[in-house]
């Protein structure tokens, strides 16, 4: 999204009789509305947009248009490299210290940060097994499984209902997050809460890997108050299993299909959050938000 904004700013030219700042902000606002119409924004996208608007608003009035555009382009590049790419490297460096030889690591769904951690640990020569837990309707774990097996990791694949069965042999759980909220709640793919809960009951440590730009100042107690709904037909149609099509194309007013994309994991199920600011307990998230301030958090 940021790259797209970069290109839009490159191609932007201020119309006469309008100031760059206000007009550009209005343009960005219209782009954002278009994006929202396609799909509700994720929390990290919201943070990035707020950063960009902040940068635009802080441009000195005396700057010429080309200078302003160059500055903005540099700012966006810096954001991407520091907050996203470099942050991922730091997270991987921290997390790899938590993987020992002989570990059995459970991962859920498909998170880019977790995948990087596993591949890096494998390159370092650590001996461990991976359990990939997957769930409907997205079945994201299958693609991740293919990539991991392709790199030579020994993997076990199962579905989320069997997580109680498999948890007794697991030593660590690594989860990704879409965001971590200010009360320590982890907002992540639907099903993460179930995995964290079962891990907690089996006394297995749960580590969440989340870059700092995804933190948010709001709080949420359960998954219903604010969530995203996916396509209901994805629930009725089971891909690859033609014998399970009782509900395909069958509609009734008494039947609803609910396809939640995200859910909230309470902070007591999370042992540690690995961020580019270090490895912190979930209670430290509002501290990071406050100490590193809104301006400093986003450079």
């Amino acid at each position: 999204m940021l790259k797209a904004f970069q290109q839009a700013i490159e191609g932007y030219s201020t119309p006469c009789e309008k100031t760059l700042i206000r007009d550009l902000t209005a343009k960005i606002g219209s782009y954002v509305s278009f994006l929202i119409e396609c799909r509700p924004l994720s929390i990290s996208m919201g943070n990035a947009i707020r950063f960009l608007k902040n940068r635009i608003a802080n441009l000195p009035l005396t700057m010429s248009e080309s200078e302003a555009k160059a500055t903005l382009r540099l700012d966006i590049d810096q954001f991407i490299s520091e907050k996203i790419i470099l942050a991922d490297k730091v997270i991987v460096k921290h997390a790899v210290t938590k993987i020992r030889d002989g570990d059995v690591l459970l991962i859920y769904g498909s998170s880019s940060a977790v995948e990087m951690i596993l591949l890096h640990a494998h390159e370092l020569g650590k001996q461990f097994r991976v359990v990939v837990v997957d769930s409907r309707p997205k079945l994201e774990g299958q693609q991740l499984l293919r990539r991991l097996v392709g790199k030579g990791l020994s993997c076990t694949y199962t579905h989320i209902n069997a997580v109680s069965y498999i948890m007794h042999e697991v030593t660590r759980v690594f989860l990704g997050a879409a965001s971590v909220l200010s009360n320590g709640t982890v907002y992540s793919r639907a099903g993460t809460a179930c995995v964290a809960m079962v891990a907690h009951s089996f006394r297995v440590p749960v580590l969440v890997c989340c870059e700092a730009y995804k933190f948010h100042g709001r709080v949420q107690l359960d998954s219903i108050c604010s969530n995203e709904l996916g396509d209901p037909d994805a629930i009725s149609k089971v891909h690859g299993r033609e014998d399970i099509n009782f509900l395909v194309g069958w509609a009734s007013e008494s039947l609803q299909r609910l396809n939640l994309i995200y859910d909230t994991t309470p902070s007591d199920y999370v042992s540690m959050i690995i961020t580019d600011y270090g490895m912190v307990p979930p209670t430290s998230v509002p501290v990071i938000l406050r100490e590193y301030g809104k301006e400093q958090l986003w450079i």
Binding site: R136, Y157, I235, L247, L258
Partner: protein, 419 residues
């Protein structure tokens, strides 16, 4: 009895190939098979109950070995054994009670007609019958390693011919009566198995109030009847059905509920924790209930039970009495579980490149795990609803005394020790 043996072999084959779906169907067919075994079994004049028990044990051992994970088979075998012991006991006590009456009427009325109506009983034969009734193992029988079900009647040697005629007469009538009683009781058992849904569904209205939200996972006929019974009594509620991968029976249940007019929402299993904060009660069926109150349930229900405990939502398990197993679960995830085909999770065609053996060690890189059952510990279950009413998990062991005898817990014949 080649006829019966063919039936038994047929049934064993069906069990081994997992052709019979569901514990109710399995229980019913097992009971019917055992009924045929009993009716075809020729019983000797002495110790007929022991002979019946040996026959049932022999058949039962084969059936249990065919599918050890289907606990309903073992339950019904043990129920029938218990029935045989009970009927034998009640007949003997009736005989002893009958003995007292002629002596009383003798003193009062010298009526020959009355005496002839009652079966000819002499004190010695009744005492012999009482001794041949199955008794708990004495130290002597244990030390001599004799199977306690076939307690050798001590009267066989001391009987003598003087009592021979009267004994044979009443023993044959007794044996016919025993078989007849046992078959009647087994018929009742079959009837109970068939009607367990109605009896459980009758209790629905006590538990479901107005404007409730109920969560269930997968599909169970007992749960369906339960919910529909509440709907008949004009309770308004809505149901969240979790689809129950990888069998996706939840889709079936959702369709059934909607055709019967209930407000249903279908969710994925991953959304269970998200939705449970808005749910009033979780109602599920079970595959089997163990003696300590833990539940062998379709996979995924342990997760649901944990979520329900976290949110203080009652977790109600519906189970017919044929599902109550007198055994305690030891390592149930492994011993009472079955792993199904991985093709339900991964398409073999798509993943054929990953299923090759790894380069370094020659073990495959990819394992796929697809268990069928989950074990839910008793502390997570709030209530069991059976056809005899609602019970706490800590009470389930008591119900075992109603249905099973302590001697029958191990169905295997004791091996003959060679020293």
């Amino acid at each position: 009895m080649p006829d019966v043996q063919a039936l038994v072999n047929d049934f064993v084959l069906k069990l081994r190939r997992r052709k019979i779906e569901g514990s109710q169907a399995t229980a019913r067919q097992t009971a019917e098979l055992l009924r045929s075994v009993i009716s075809q079994q020729r019983v000797p004049y002495t110790n007929q109950a022991g002979a019946l028990i040996d026959a049932i044990r022999a058949v039962g051992e084969q059936l249990i070995a065919a599918n050890p994970v289907e606990l309903a088979v073992g339950n019904i075998v043990r129920r029938v054994l218990h029935i045989i012991r009970e009927e034998d006991l009640s007949l003997t006590t009736a005989a002893i009670a009958g003995l007292n009456l002629p002596s009383v009427s003798d003193d009062d009325d010298d009526d020959d007609g009355e005496r002839e109506d009652q079966p000819v009983l002499s004190a010695a034969s009744v005492a012999a019958a009482a001794r041949s009734t199955l008794r708990p193992p004495s130290l002597q029988t244990l030390l001599e390693d004799r199977p306690d079900s076939a307690a050798i009647p001590h009267t066989s040697s001391s009987g003598g011919d003087s009592e021979g005629k009267s004994k044979s007469a009443d023993k044959s009538s007794r044996s016919k009566k025993l078989k007849h009683d046992v078959i009647e009781a087994v018929n009742e058992l079959i009837q109970d198995i068939a009607t367990c849904h109605e009896q459980i569904a009758e209790q629905a209205v006590e538990h479901i109030h107005q404007n409730e939200v109920i969560l269930t996972l997968g599909s169970s006929r007992t749960v369906l009847e339960f919910l529909c019974a509440a709907k008949e009594k004009k309770r308004s509620f809505r149901v969240f059905v979790a689809e129950g991968a990888p069998r996706y029976q939840g889709h079936l249940l959702a369709k059934e509920l909607v055709t019967r007019g209930l407000q249903t929402t279908l969710i994925t299993d991953s959304a269970v924790f998200a939705m449970i904060s808005r749910v009033n009660m979780v109602i599920v069926g079970a595959h089997a209930v163990m003696a300590n109150g833990s539940v062998i349930a379709p996979v995924g229900l342990n997760m649901v039970a944990l979520a329900a405990q976290k949110h203080a939502v009652p977790f109600v398990v519906l189970a017919g009495s044929h599902k109550l197993c007198p055994l305690y679960p030891h390592n149930p995830e492994v011993l009472l579980n079955e792993l199904r085909s991985p093709s339900e999770l991964l398409d073999f065609g798509e993943f054929s490149d990953c299923l090759d053996f790894g380069t370094g060690s020659s073990s495959p890189l990819l394992h796929v795990v697809n268990p069928t059952f989950d074990c839910v510990p008793p502390k997570l279950v709030s209530l069991f609803i059976t056809d005899t009413g609602g019970h706490n998990p800590s009470y389930m062991y008591r119900l075992i005394a109603d249905y099973y005898s302590a001697d029958d817990l191990v169905v295997q014949q004791k091996p003959v020790s060679v020293n």
